[in-house]
Each structure stands twice: as C-alpha cells, then as structure tokens.
C-alpha cells in the first residue's frame, strides 16, 4: 500500500464539509479531533450528549471544572450562547433530527449503511453509550476511520460481521484513503488519494465501489 492520511488529516477532511452554523455531535475519541480543524470563518455549534450546546475546547490543565464535561468525560469550556439541558432534552435533539452532522468512529461500515462501532464481540463488558441514538440522530451521519484494520483487513465491507450499532444509517465515510458516500445501498467513490489507483483502492475495500464520472483527489495538508 502507498501512503495514507493520518487521523488528524482524516479529521481535517471531515471538518471541511461542516458548514458555518451547523449543529454537530462528535463521537468520543478520534472524532473529537474534527473540532480542531474548522475552516476559517466557519463556526459550528457542538453538542454533547450530557446536556451542553456550544462548548469549546478543553481548559488549561489545572483549570478544569469537573461539572463541565463532555460525553467523553473530558473537561470542556463554554462559548458565548451556550445552553445546558437535561439528558432527555439532549437526546430529543439527537433523535429528533435536529443535529446537522454526527461524526462517529467505526469498527466496520457496510455498503448498505449499517454501522458496527460498539462491540467487538461477546467478551468483556459491553458498553454502548449514546452511539445507537446518534446514528439515528443527524441529517448526515458520517464515519471517520482508517480504511483497513491494523491487520490490513477492510473496514468497509459488504455486510457487517460485528454486532450492529445501527441499520442503514451512515451516509458518508471519510477514510484514510478515500471519501465515499453511501447511496442506494452502494459505496460511491467521491475522492481518493491521488497516489492510488481505483484498482488499488478496490483491493482494500470489502464491497464494490461505484465509480461516478468525477472522482476528486483526496488531499489534506500536514496537520496534527
């Protein structure tokens, strides 16, 4: 395989599609990185499941207020125009389709839009958090992910083999190699690394890529 985008670059690419004024939920962990890369002049409003809208970045170490945290239980700050609300109202925002974008991590994503990102199987302690709500919660549900597993196996698959988080919910994938839309139960290739051929990309993708007339170059600056 040739080069691939770093996690920061994947997050950067996802951030380019978030419009000014969009209401956005970023999943715990890797997706949180997207907030760092908002294009100049745009300001998204970030939602966290535990009842805050319009929070900002982490406070300096030592200045944390542990009553002011995000769903990942990291300390946050508020921006002007923030609001607090309880958990049912918070998930009303999610489930009611009021978010413009939710960006989640994933173990597997299938060409039919199925997502598996909560359980790697029956071992250990299962924990689902808000993922099963978030996948039904936004006008656009996107995943950001390495294109393949650490063992080189496809994470973009025909059908998920791991326990599902949601059925037919994902609309766009930002991977380390490509940007792919899910339309009509198919992977539609929108952008790929210019250094890769379509055949190379298809070889590490677990379901057929639909190839539109125009396929853009996936290019991200050096970010971290």
């Amino acid at each position: 395989m040739t080069s691939k985008l770093s996690n920061a670059q994947i997050a950067w690419r996802a951030a380019q599609d978030i419009e000014d004024g969009a209401y956005v939920n970023l999943g715990i962990g890797f997706p949180e990185m997207v907030a760092k890369f908002q294009p100049p002049g745009r300001q998204a409003i970030f939602h966290t499941e535990n009842g805050v809208l319009n929070f900002g970045e982490a406070p300096p170490a030592g200045e944390e207020d542990w009553d002011l945290i995000n769903a990942g239980k990291k300390a946050i700050t508020l921006k002007p125009g923030a609001a607090f609300f309880h958990h049912a109202d918070s998930f009303g925002m999610v489930r009611g389709g009021h978010l413009d974008v939710a960006i989640l991590g994933t173990y597997e994503v299938a060409e039919n839009g199925d997502l598996a990102n909560w359980s790697t199987g029956p071992k250990g302690v299962p924990a689902v958090g808000g993922a099963m709500d978030l996948v039904h919660g936004a006008k656009r549900v996107a995943v950001i992910t390495d294109h393949v597993t650490k063992d080189g196996k496809p994470k973009l698959v025909k059908r998920c083999s791991l326990p599902l988080t949601g059925v037919g919910c994902v609309t766009r994938i930002y991977s380390s190699l490509a940007v792919i839309d899910i339309e009509g139960g198919r992977f539609v290739l929108r952008e790929k690394l210019p250094s890769m051929t379509v055949e190379e990309l298809q070889a590490v993708t677990g379901a057929e890529l639909v190839l539109p007339d125009v396929i853009g170059d996936l290019v991200a600056p050096e970010v971290s």
Binding site: I45, L53, L78, G81, A83, F84, G92, M93, G96, G97
Partner: protein, 240 residues
C-alpha cells in the same frame, strides 16, 4: 450564525399554502400576535398562505390573532384541545357551517404529541382518553394491567413563537406562564420563527436559564412593544 431577521414580513416568509402551522400560547399568554398579524397581512396582499392547519390549544378569541386568521379564511383545520374562548365566534361560526375542520386532542396528549415530534418519538402510549369517543379508531394496549391509547407524534412545517429574550443564536427565555406550548412547538417544527421582546448578544442569557436552545430556532425578530392578546381583547381591538 446570526438568526435575526429585519422585520416581521421577513420573519414569516416561506409559510405556504397547505402547511401545518403551530402557534405558541395558551389563550392570550404567549400568543405571538405580531407574527400572526404579519401572516394575515401577507395573505391579504397575496392570497397566501391559505388552507393552513393550525395547531394551538385554543381556536382563537375575538377578532385578533388566530381568530382573525380564521375570519380571513386562511385556516382549513384546527388541531386543539379547547376550541372555546370568551369570544369564540370566528371558529364556531365556520365550524357549525362545516367550513373548518377540527381535530380535538386532549390537552396533555396534544402537548406530548408535539413533544414527541421534537424528540423523534413516532408514537407513545397514554392513559388519557382510553375508553372514550376521542380514542375511537386508535390502537390500544395493556401495560402492567392498565389500558392505554397509542398516540402519534404531531409535526409542523412552521411554528410561530413568542419569547421574552432571544440571543442572536436563537437561545430563548419566556415570560411567566407564556412558556406553555412554545418550547415544544419550537422543537416540533421544521421552520421555527420567534418574536422576542428583546434580542441580545450570545452570552447575555445565562446558559443555565436558556429554556429553548437555539438549535430549535431558525429566525428571530425583535418586537419590543409586543401586544398581549388578552389586553387587546379587553380594549375591543379587531384586526381586519
């Protein structure tokens, strides 16, 4: 991210024929009179919007607000719990002549159906109306030995809301009991239009005190000298 619009006409733009329109307020408390009258002005000038389905607890009072919309011929159906008032003639006359429809919904069910729409809950069960004429034709189910009626969410194309404070991002507070249905309707409508007594900068409303977060609001217009429907009634005002 600035949701303010310059005037009432701009605020009510995009409300079109045949839409479902939620209107905040309980009686005169919370009634967005200026937004309603701006919509009537547009109808009088252009013939639109008409054939509206209007959702409100009541069906208008006197010759102002929702009653004036009904009088003007803009409303084809009301969804409400109590289509009576001190002066209900606008609705009553048309209803008895068969010129306007009515979906009668128990008040708590109306509130919960609107709340469900905003919260993405397509259906729920309530004890209210079980065994009554109002529940006819609705699915029923038993839980823990008691019978309940299944009710569906109630969504709207647009909502007209009266707030006390708004910031430019659409965060809202309400005044006293004028809160009533408004936070629910703001979340249940695709296009939520707010008249506020005062518009302030983001950060001027304490995040603890926001009642309707801006995520539910599309447009805000300042109406500093907003009229109270009940006060107008007592002055004998008619809008026509």
């Amino acid at each position: 991210m600035d949701k303010t619009v310059p005037d009432l006409a701009a605020a009510v733009a995009g409300i079109e024929d045949g839409m479902v329109l939620m209107v905040g307020g309980f009686g005169g408390s919370g009634a967005p009179i200026e937004l309603i009258h701006a919509l009537i002005d547009r109808f009088k000038a252009t013939g639109s919007p008409k054939n509206l389905t209007v959702v409100n607890n009541n069906a208008g009072n006197g010759r102002i607000g929702i009653a004036a919309m009904i009088d003007a011929g803009m409303v084809s159906k009301m969804v409400c719990s109590f289509p009576r008032s001190a002066d209900p003639r606008a609705f009553t006359e048309k209803y008895l002549k068969g010129e306007i429809g009515l979906e009668l919904v128990p008040q708590g069910t109306l509130a919960e159906r609107i709340r469900a729409a905003g919260a993405g809950i397509p259906a729920f069960y309530t004890p209210a109306s079980f065994g009554t004429d109002v529940a006819k034709g609705k699915p029923v189910a038993e839980f823990d030995g008691k019978s309940y009626v299944q009710e569906r969410w109630l969504k709207a194309d647009a909502a007209l809301i009266k707030a006390e404070l708004a910031d430019t991002m659409g965060n809202l507070t309400y005044r006293k009991a004028a809160r009533n249905f408004s936070p629910l309707m703001a979340a249940a409508a695709k296009l939520t239009i707010v008249q506020a007594s005062k518009i302030v900068a983001p950060g001027e409303i304490d995040p603890e005190q926001v009642v309707t977060p801006g995520i539910f609001v599309n447009r805000v217009v300042e109406v500093a000298d907003a009229k109270q429907e009940e006060a107008l009634m007592r002055e004998g005002v008619a809008y026509s």
